[in-house]
């Protein structure tokens, strides 16, 4: 009994840690690769259990960012990426501006 309750509280602690992490990323710029090879850059606004991600002021790039080719992005605005189409997620870690 005691062990069980301990497990739950641990799980809760863990949960809130996950949430905290996600919340910390909110309103940060994210770069998402999709299964079809396109890359989206936008502000992380929302997510759920199925990893569906909503990006604001989103821009779409056709080529891989590593290719180095200059490419004009297409403006999408508010876009939702279904979790099953996520390949990778990167967060922009801007150094704190003084």
């Amino acid at each position: 009994m005691a062990g069980e309750s301990k497990n739950i509280s641990e799980a809760e602690e863990e949960k809130s840690a996950g949430r905290k992490k996600l919340e910390g990323w909110l309103n940060k710029t994210m770069r998402i690769r999709m299964t079809d090879g396109r890359t989206l850059v936008g502000v992380f606004l929302c997510t759920d259990k199925d990893k569906n991600v909503i990006l604001g002021s989103c821009q779409e790039y056709l080529k891989l960012p590593e290719s180095g080719e200059q490419e004009d992005p297409r403006v999408l605005g508010l876009a939702m990426v279904p979790g099953r189409h996520l390949v990778s997620i990167e967060v922009d870690q801007q150094p704190e501006i003084m």
Binding site: E14, K15, G18, R19, K21, L22, E23, W25, L26, N27, T29, R31, M34, T35, D36, G37, R38, L40, L45, C46, T47, D48, K49, D50, K51, I54, Q59, E60, L62, Q70, D72, P73, R74, V75, L76, G77, L78, A79, M80, V81, P82, G83, H85, L86, V87, S88, I89, E90, V91, D92, Q93, Q94, P95
Partner: protein
Amino acid sequence: MANAETSDADKVQPQGSTETVLYNWQDVTEEFMEAASELSLGELLHDSDFGLFEAMSAIEMMDPKMDAGMMCNQTKRKVLSFEQAIEAGTIKIQDIPLQDQIGIMDMTLSCLVTWLEGHSLAQTVFTNLYLHNPFILEDRFMKAFSLCMLKIVDLIRDRINRASVFEEEDFQPMTYGFKMAGDITDMRVTGMVKEAEEELSKTIRNTRSKSGEERAAVIAEEHELAVAVFSRLKFCRLLLTTLLAFTKEKCQGIPDADKYCNQMLELIPALKSTIQLGVQPDEKSADYPLIMGFEPLVNQRLLPPTFPRYTRIKTREETIQYLQELIHDFKAVCSVTECTTLHGAIDFFLEFSRKSPSVLSRSLVQLAYLNQSRRVFGTQLMQDVLREQIRNFIAPPALMLKSPILNNPQAKEHIDALLTHAVRPLCNVIQITGHNRARQRDKWGHLLEELATLQEEADRVDSALHGALIKVDPNRQHLACFGTWVLYHTLHVMIYYIQSGFELELYAPHEYHYIFWYLYEVLYNWLVSSLNRADTFLMEQDAIAEQQKGRNAKKNKKKKKGRQYAREVAIIQGTQALCGGFYKALVGFNIDGKLKQPEVEFDSEEVRYNHRFAPFGVVGTPPPVHYTQFKDMTDLRRFDHDPSAQEMYTAACKNFQQARICYESVSNPTEEINNLIKVSKTNMVVMNLLAGGHKKESKNPPGWDFSVHRNFPIIKVM
């Protein structure tokens, strides 16, 4: 306008190239997946200022319907820009075979008319890669054609924008920053096309079959191809010159435009018969006909994210048909210059609109009649046109040459102010007819607000003028002169508003009775009396003019011109009787229980009634008839005994009969009047049958057939 254009272009032009933000990316894929899986089902993690509503409005990536960008990845063929295609050798820029040229030209025309039907330039005309930069073309025919096409597109866009009688469903003005050959003059372009035509006509001459000689099949084919390209180039050049002629100031280009239209019409059969000579798109490419020089997806990334992926381009046969109709419309536009009076012009515009012409024709006719400084045909001031019109309509003493108050400065001031204020609403009447049919209704409703204000002012001016007039000449009066004129227009607008509801199929049959009642008892009644009043004034004025001339005036002059409004009054009385017939027929159907009524608990006739006539609330004259008044006036208990259905049918029959007689008295009946006669006659027969007890027991609702006339149906009893 230039500003609006650039800002539009800015919106689509991808930003960001100027941004020099350096990102410091950190891969968090694993962390993210783990963290997100901790969320519970249905839980959304978001900031406090981001809610479900915002979440719902996001476009879904990788959803084929919402994600336009997906197409670029899905299509197997590589989407190449013009320059890339040249490099890859998939597109020719010199010595383009004539078969290809014919195909490209036809396809471009198809794109043009598809654009005119309200699609985006990026998905139509500019899927033609040659148009992206015709200057690098070395083929002279194709270069001349491409430049001519750009000029045409640019002119059309300019005309439509200027006339601004379009809505988003009619026309997409966005140009996405495409260059429209602005750095080269129209003269130069038509010159280039002409040169190309001359070169082709040499070929045509050289390959012509000479008598007694057998042409080789190759030469015969060459001849045919040259003729086909020649006709297309000439057609496009004529289209451009026609559009240029329409842009000339003061309608000076109209006679030329009419001439060019005839020339284009002569070319149509040649275009139609040579469609098959051009390269045809692969049958397999179902969504979009694909031939050399076209890339439907080349502009995909310029479009907003949720734009329709494909635009169905019209077929070549449909295109020629469309162009033929367009040119006939152009010819109708040319005849607008025959409208010498404002009322004549309004009738012309209403008639023009009835055929639902394309947005381009609608714009051209607007610009031909009223230029941007609101001068009729670019010359007459609208105020002067109105003054003339009112003088002819009701001959207000103050506007007549020998008016005793002609030189009264105050009276002049009043009149000038009134005319100035009348310009806007009357121009709006013309302008509203330029919009597409469905949009007109709302606009008529709003126009009533302006007309109501004008009506008030007209009444004030009338009484001021009356005061001034009776001081000079106590026997004359000036009451309700300008007022009657405004009322006349107000009533017409109210009638357009009501009638458009039939055309747009807004009314349910159980509503018909008060709609027809309102037309019958209120609007047409007022209209007849306003015309009678105008007539009285005209006759009075004639009498005075006669007196002033004295007895010296020629006596053998025709006694009286006959009432000026006889024709108009006959038509209006006919329509009034027609509406009366419908109303009574409907009452009869109601008594017989033939009309399906909505379930009482979900319905309130009063609410519907108020809604249907809501825009009339702002109008002072005629005062709106409220629902309770309507109920009182139509209460069957006002009759001595409850009328039977048969009696109502008999009354309706009489009304239809009366309508027919009125219409038939009109000399030189128009098609419209002939249709109305047909409706009255048929309904008369139907009513006669019903009055005789035909289908008395049947509870089947009557049918309403609007195929003969858009507003007045033929009643069918089942």
